[in-house]
Symmetry: D2
Subunit: 349 residues, 4 copies
């Protein structure tokens, strides 16, 4: 089959860029025309993405050498997409941005979360927030998509059905996300040094995590909500698990909660409701999801209170980043939504 | 110096028994007279506690062969202490029980948590709950001490000062504990099989954890409280980290919270307040605590709400079990409280 | 495309069976007709292979209910294939056996390695040893294939070119294989208990490993050779790394060794020669290979002696087992050799 | 008891310096007078050694501010001890150097291993190589001791009895060492970045490891020997395991080998011969040794050849570095050899 869509990846030496490349090389309708890295320009991509050895002859280009293409992925440091937008927009009619620049559609919310004025507030309304389960039709019609943050993705997909149904006390939710080390990118630092990062169980954002702004945006439906969010780093490379404690504002039983989740997710190709009575894998777990685009969602109704504990798991580099972006590409280009995203995950691993 | 206190350990082939033995062999005032294991009776203790090779010639005895001693440690499966109490009480004037049998002082609370009637409700009031930071004087005078559950210990030590000070909304606290695999003991099962347990991030008690009963008992101070508790297993052997989200019922600033913690813990030999502005180890972390009897406690005041996130870390086999028990022995026998518990922990590890 | 080959998997609840199923569900020309498990008969395969949730409605059958098919995979405990051969042979014209029963073509070698008489020496010559890089044409024509042992596969693929070329002292080679925990299968035992198996670096076969018989068979080319083999378990789930120390019997330089490897492997779809001057991944490493069918091979010529250190890495469940078996299926059925085996591996993971 | 020996640690912010400090703070006869770090001068040592919180008020000094003391530990980058020797020698009558500068007593061997001329060949004979099991009496009388390399320590202690007994083919030994990440020190780099270093099984010195020079020096006893050495990094923080394949030059049975090891090591306080018929921990393993000064040594006689596989394990920061240095201090100062080194290790961990 001919590869009808030509794409380029700007900022392709990081983990997200590598993951995009891995997926797109096997996408039957896509041709990766260029991938950029200032640091590794001229070198084979396998220098930094060694898993792709023998699979591609691609070399890194400089970002200034990008040629026009059909769809441009931007995997640049936060701030770069906005700052260089006028250059990028000339290169491609469709853009998927994987940075945080255009996830929020409100300049005040951006200022609050990122402690600075948004450099291009004029563009905020032109990007669609990239979680297909919430914005499928808008993504289909979008020119510009902003892929969601990984922790935000896990949290939102876990909580969305309950918030959408309006059954939750909007100010009491507490979310604890546990994350692997790949979330912080591929640059070594003191805290990522193996002897320090190994065996860790490290609170890194007890309060003030930036993804809260995205979560609030997507779950508020016009009302004021408050999500109490914390994040802890664990000794794992890939994966994010959100444990969300929500408090019901009405007397729902377990089967009612089930029904709400089924209604929202039964037809979703990449969301699985995981809730079993026995066995090892009764609740969602990132271990099963490495390399996949699934978000597994489960829950437990606390019989001793009005609490529901929602558990949602993703691979942060996939459903939390590159996989979500390819899913958006599939929608934007009219391909079957699962194309290039069918890897089922390994067990055990 | 003569070893004036003769102790015995019943149920000494498990991880808790091994840890007790490790500590007591180096205690200058204690002689380990006997240690029992039905399964390994007659075999050297180093068969199951290989870290003690070349350090002790002790062999396991059968529990029926226990001789009188000064202090008896019971590390038996839950239920055994209560069921066989009349045998044990004849052997020693002082007993430290590391099971869950006598942690609760209320038979109704026991029935609610353990789903059965307590076999010996007559004894409930005779045991002191074994966390020295809460019950030091009572432990000094006690004949019988019930060591606290590991998750309960981490949670209680984190929350006690705020609850004691009465500054917390008593029904909103959410606690998320992350634990290593040694918590589940030394018997292999399907879920502890390395290929399944490795790389896990596994919810095992989203609701209904039994330790909630202990936490509630120790933090309620006569009022009704509700602690919303969940537990997640991580890929670590030793260690427990409690992330507790409490909501203030009055307008405290960070320095006020500091003051509360300092007042309670500044003089404690085994509680450290950990809260730094920079560096890798800004908050408490079990990684630094393996083998130690410390509970590290830190917190962060959320400027965006009335939340305080309290972070508390222990080694579940030490401060959460054997170390706590030896600390109790030191108090009960009039030894310096830190005796045999001075190991500072390793970095890195 | 129609799925023209109907297969069945006998003994499908183990890790190898699960991995076969994962691959075959995405094989465009194969239909998995049945998969058996005595223990889980009647239950969905996702009960034990949770990564396949939402991807297949298959349930386990009992082995006695197997229907005729085109190709039968046998993933039974060692000994079962031979003992029940007369039953199996009636079910399918082609069989791929993943046990150790028919890897050796000499009854005396079997007796020496497995300490018992082979129950069906009459069949030994009817099986082809399943490493395609050594026996591609024979496998194409074979009815019965015996997949190689995982450690044997890593070792043989690393050493084959040098032994084939006759440049090695045949009695001095020392091989040290490091392996993950999935090699030992999915049954929990005392040694696989996470607190014991985690952080391990455990010699489990310093001498006497059974795979030596396969290695010797495949590398001897009619001469007597001796391979000094040891194996060490490491804290990893998937993966095997063989570090082989061979001693040259003639004065080859590095470029000569290169040439030998290139001649043998340049055209191989699943062998990559990995040998870089800088970067993190200069030599083969299983970390990059999880889920892939690659064997990466590298080497270093010791300038201080006549030693060459050969390093070869595989995923033990893939190239070391299920992937190798699917590669054989592709050859036996005339499909493109890479079909269903194209997953490139993840980085990082 | 008074702390009669005043010591200082130059270069104390690294892992080795931290480990020395941890040990010496609990040494009953030693007072740590100063510890230096250019980078952290003026800051509390707990800034970089957080395990020591609440245990010491020490701050880092600059190296230029060192005052005279009784014994000086040097934990500086390789080359610094030799280059600045004239400054250091004025500060203390006894020096223990933990760098590689004075391990070799032959300038030509140094040049060969380190690819440069030794800057102070005049001093080479004044240092005693710091492994007490080989040089106890010399260390007792020494002013200057050079602590051995960690991989060299594990290898030498494993092989010494056999080489000393002269029962080994001197040119055939192959050694494969597996090491944790703390060996490479506390500076972050691309290869130590957690997503890259985690799950690794990485050959880093297939040939040409510098420690071979030390091994050769200590095992040759006047004859020419050749040790074929490789090293592989594993996903572990502390620990080194040497698997050494030696070939006997005479017909020894297992009990003869036993006898040789027992003769050398039965009286050693820090060497344990580990060789059991069953159980999980049949051979030496670093997992049991974290924080201890033990070297565990075991072996297996290959019945199929003249090979003996020797397995030796240490904690690289302890017996392989700081622990060995404190053992030397104890000898040099006339203290009981085990003082401050009695920690037995944790199980499980």
């Amino acid at each position: 089959m001919s590869r009808e869509v030509r794409v380029a990846i700007a900022g392709g030496s990081g983990y997200t860029g590598g993951e995009l490349l891995r997926l797109l090389l096997f996408h039957p309708h896509v041709q990766v025309q260029q991938i950029t890295s200032e640091r590794f320009a001229g070198k084979p991509v396998t220098k930094v993405h060694p898993n792709l050895r023998k699979l591609t002859p691609l070399k890194f280009d400089k970002i200034g050498d990008l040629q026009p293409c059909d769809l441009l992925f931007l995997c640049l440091p936060h701030g770069e997409t906005a700052n260089r937008w006028d250059d990028f927009v000339r290169l491609a009619p469709k853009v998927i941005d994987l940075s945080a620049d255009f996830r929020l559609n409100d300049a005040a919310a951006y200022r609050h979360a990122y402690k600075k004025h948004h450099p291009r507030p004029d563009l905020l309304q032109r990007f669609v927030y990239g979680i297909p389960e919430l914005h499928r039709d808008e993504i289909r019609d979008a020119d510009y998509v902003a892929s969601a943050g990984c922790n935000a993705t896990a949290t939102i997909l876990g909580l969305y059905p309950l918030y959408r149904a309006g059954v939750v006390d909007p100010e009491r939710t507490v979310v604890e996300v546990k994350v692997g080390s790949s979330e912080a990118g591929n640059r070594a630092n003191e805290g990522s040094h193996h002897p320090e990062r190994s065996n860790c169980l490290r609170s890194f954002s007890p309060t003030g995590h930036r993804h809260v702004a995205e979560i609030t945006q997507e779950l508020s439906f016009g009302s004021k909500i408050q999500v109490h969010f914390s994040a802890t780093a664990v000794d794992m490379v890939r994966g994010a698990l959100a444990t969300s404690h929500v408090f019901l504002n009405q007397g729902l039983e377990e089967k009612d909660v089930w029904k709400i989740y089924r209604e929202h997710y039964a037809a979703e190709p990449f969301v699985r409701i995981v809730k079993e009575r026995d066995g090892i894998y009764r609740y969602p777990e990132p271990k099963l999801l490495a390399g996949t685009n699934f978000c597994d969602v489960g829950f437990e109704r606390d019989p001793a209170s009005d609490r529901v504990v929602v558990i949602s798991a993703i691979d942060n580099l996939m459903k939390g980043s590159a996989g979500q972006a390819v899913q958006a590409l599939n929608l934007m280009c009219g391909f079957e939504e699962r194309t290039a995203l069918e890897f089922p995950g390994l067990h055990p691993v």
